[in-house]
C-alpha cells in the first residue's frame, strides 16, 4: 500500500474519531477507527508499514483521546505486526473472520493500554470491561461490514440492475 493511501486512511480515521467520538452517538457506535486503518494496512502484508501505520494511528488516537501519549501507539504497533502476520499466514477473508479478528484485536488493544496505564500511572487495571466488549463488538461489526462491502461485486450488481430496468 502506498504511503499516500496510508495517510488518507489515517486522516479518515482521525475525522471519524473526531466527529463520531465527539458526538452523542459515541456510546452507540464506539468503533476503533484507528484499528480499522491499521488492519487495512496490515492486510497488505508489509510488516514495516503496518507497524509504522499502527504506531502513527496510536499516536493520533492518544493525542485525541488519551492522557498518556504512546499507550495506544504501543498497542497498535503490536497489533499491526500481529494482523500482518495473520494476513500472510492464513486466508484472511470473509466478513465474519475479519470481524472476529478485529474484535479480538480491539480487546487486545484495550488490555495492553490498561496494562500500561496500570504499570506507569498506577491506575486500576480492568482488562475486560463492558465498554471494552461493546467497543470490540462495534469495531468487529464495522470491520466485517467494510470487508463485506469491499468484497461485494458492485460492478456486476450494477450491470444486473441496469439489465433488469431495461427489461
Amino acid at each position: 500500500m502506498k504511503i499516500s493511501r496510508i495517510a488518507l486512511l489515517l486522516a479518515g480515521a482521525v475525522l471519524l474519531e473526531f466527529f463520531v467520538g465527539g458526538s452523542s452517538h459515541r456510546s452507540l457506535l464506539p468503533v476503533d477507527w484507528f484499528l480499522l486503518a491499521t488492519a487495512a494496512v496490515a492486510r497488505n502484508g508489509d510488516f514495516v508499514r503496518a507497524v509504522l501505520a499502527g504506531a502513527a494511528a496510536g499516536f493520533l488516537e492518544d493525542a485525541l483521546s488519551q492522557p498518556l501519549l504512546g499507550a495506544n501507539a504501543f498497542a497498535k504497533a503490536i497489533l499491526g505486526f500481529a494482523l500482518t502476520l495473520v494476513s500472510v499466514r492464513v486466508v484472511f477473508g470473509g466478513a465474519l473472520a475479519v470481524g472476529a479478528a478485529l474484535a479480538a484485536a480491539s480487546l487486545a488493544n484495550e488490555a495492553i493500554v490498561a496494562a500500561l496505564s496500570a504499570l506507569l500511572m498506577g491506575s486500576p487495571m480492568v482488562v475486560v470491561s463492558r465498554d471494552a466488549l461493546w467497543r470490540a463488538a462495534a469495531t468487529g461489526i464495522a470491520g466485517g461490514a467494510l470487508e463485506a462491502a469491499w468484497a461485494f461485486p458492485w460492478g456486476e450488481w450494477w450491470k444486473r440492475r441496469r439489465l433488469r430496468r431495461l427489461r
Binding site: 502484508g45 498518556l68 501519549l69 504497533a77 494476513s87
Partner: protein, 305 residues
C-alpha cells in the same frame, strides 16, 4: 509456508488471494516493531511520574543508569583532586618543614644562649653574694681559658678595658685570692694566677700576725717565705693578704698552712694550701685595684715579681 529469500532471510509467502502483497519481511518488521516499542516505552516513561513523586520514570531510569558512571566520575575526580591536594600539601609541607627546622634551630641556639646566660647570671649572682665579704668587688668575670704549662699558670678572662679592667686589678673568688690582671685587651684580659712561678703577694698569718710573702711554686702549691724560725706558725693557720704589696687588698684569704719545715736557714719553709679551687675556676670576682697600682703599674709589676 516459507521460502528462503535471496539475502538468506526466510520470508513468508502470503496465502490471502484477495490481498495485494507489496513486501514480506517479518524480521525487518520485527526490528521496526522493537524500535517503535522502545520509543513508545521511552515516551510513556517520560510522562509517567516516578514512585517517589519526584520527576518521571524516565528521569528515574536515567538517574539509575547513570549512577555508576556518575559515581565513577566522582571517584576519579575526587582521586585526582586528592592527588593534586596531596602533591600540593607535600610541597608545602616540605617547605614548611624546612622553615620549621630553621626556626627550631634558631630557637635551640637562642635557648642554649639564654640557658648559658642564665647560668652565667646565676653564677655571677652567687659569686657576688658570696663575695660580699671581699673588699672592693667590682663584678664577676667569666674565665675563658686556664693555662698551665712549665710553671706558668695564667688565665684569660672575659672582660677588658671596655668593662673597666685595668692592669693590676686583683681577682678573687669567695674562698680566696686567685691572681691579678697583667694584660688588658678591649674585651678580654690575661691574668696571672697565684700558682704561677713568678707570682707573689704580701701575706699575713692571721693567728700570729706575722708578715711574709706568698709565692707560687709553679706546681699547684704556694709557699710562705720570710717567716722567722722563731715563729709559732703551725699547720692549719689561715693566711690572708696583707695589703703591703701595692697590688692586693688586705684581708683576702689566701690559704691555710699545710706544713712547716725548720731547716738550717733563718726562715721557715711554710707550705700553704690555696683556699681557692684553681681546678674549678669558671668565674672570678674583679676587685678594685690598689691605689698604688693605679698610680704606678710598673711598680706594682715589679713588686709582684
Amino acid at each position: 509456508m516459507s521460502e528462503p529469500s535471496a539475502d538468506g532471510l526466510r520470508t513468508l509467502r502470503p496465502q490471502n488471494p484477495h490481498v495485494e502483497i507489496t513486501a514480506v519481511n517479518p524480521r525487518r518488521g520485527g526490528a521496526v516493531l522493537v524500535t517503535v516499542l522502545v520509543a513508545c516505552v521511552l515516551i510513556l516513561s517520560a510522562q509517567a511520574p516516578a514512585r517517589g513523586g519526584r520527576g518521571t520514570v524516565l528521569q528515574s531510569w536515567i538517574l539509575s543508569a547513570s549512577a555508576p558512571l556518575a559515581s565513577a566520575v566522582s571517584s576519579v575526580s575526587q582521586g585526582f583532586s586528592g592527588t593534586l591536594d596531596s602533591t600540593t600539601e607535600l610541597f608545602s609541607a616540605r617547605s614548611q618543614n624546612e622553615r620549621l627546622r630553621r626556626e627550631l634551630d634558631a630557637r635551640d641556639r637562642e635557648l642554649f644562649r639564654l640557658r648559658a646566660e642564665m647560668r652565667q647570671l646565676g653564677e655571677a649572682r652567687r659569686l657576688e653574694s658570696a663575695g660580699a665579704v671581699l673588699p672592693g668587688v667590682i663584678g664577676s668575670v667569666p674565665v675563658l681559658l686556664v693555662e698551665r704549662r712549665s710553671g706558668v699558670h695564667s688565665a684569660l678572662i672575659g672582660a677588658g678595658a671596655s668593662d673597666g679592667v685595668v692592669p693590676g686589678s686583683p681577682l678573687a673568688v669567695p674562698a680566696g685570692l686567685v691572681g691579678r690582671v697583667v694584660t688588658v685587651g678591649r674585651g678580654i684580659s690575661r691574668a696571672q694566677l697565684l700558682l704561677d712561678a713568678s707570682a707573689a703577694a704580701g701575706a699575713r698569718i692571721v693567728r700570729t700576725g706575722e708578715l711574709g710573702v706568698v709565692r707560687g711554686d709553679g706546681r699547684g702549691s704556694l709557699t710562705l717565705n720570710n717567716i722567722a724560725t722563731t715563729s709559732s706558725v703551725a699547720s692549719g693557720d689561715l693566711v690572708e693578704s696583707a695589703g703591703i704589696d701595692g697590688i692586693y687588698p688586705r684581708g683576702v684569704p689566701i690559704g691555710r698552712v699545710e706544713s712547716v719545715l725548720r731547716g738550717s736557714k733563718l726562715f721557715l719553709e711554710v707550705r700553704v694550701a690555696p683556699s681557692a679551687d684553681f681546678a674549678r675556676l669558671t668565674d672570678v670576682l674583679l676587685l678594685s685595684p690598689s691605689p698604688a697600682a693605679k698610680e704606678s703599674p710598673e711598680g706594682s709589676q715589679g713588686a709582684a715579681r
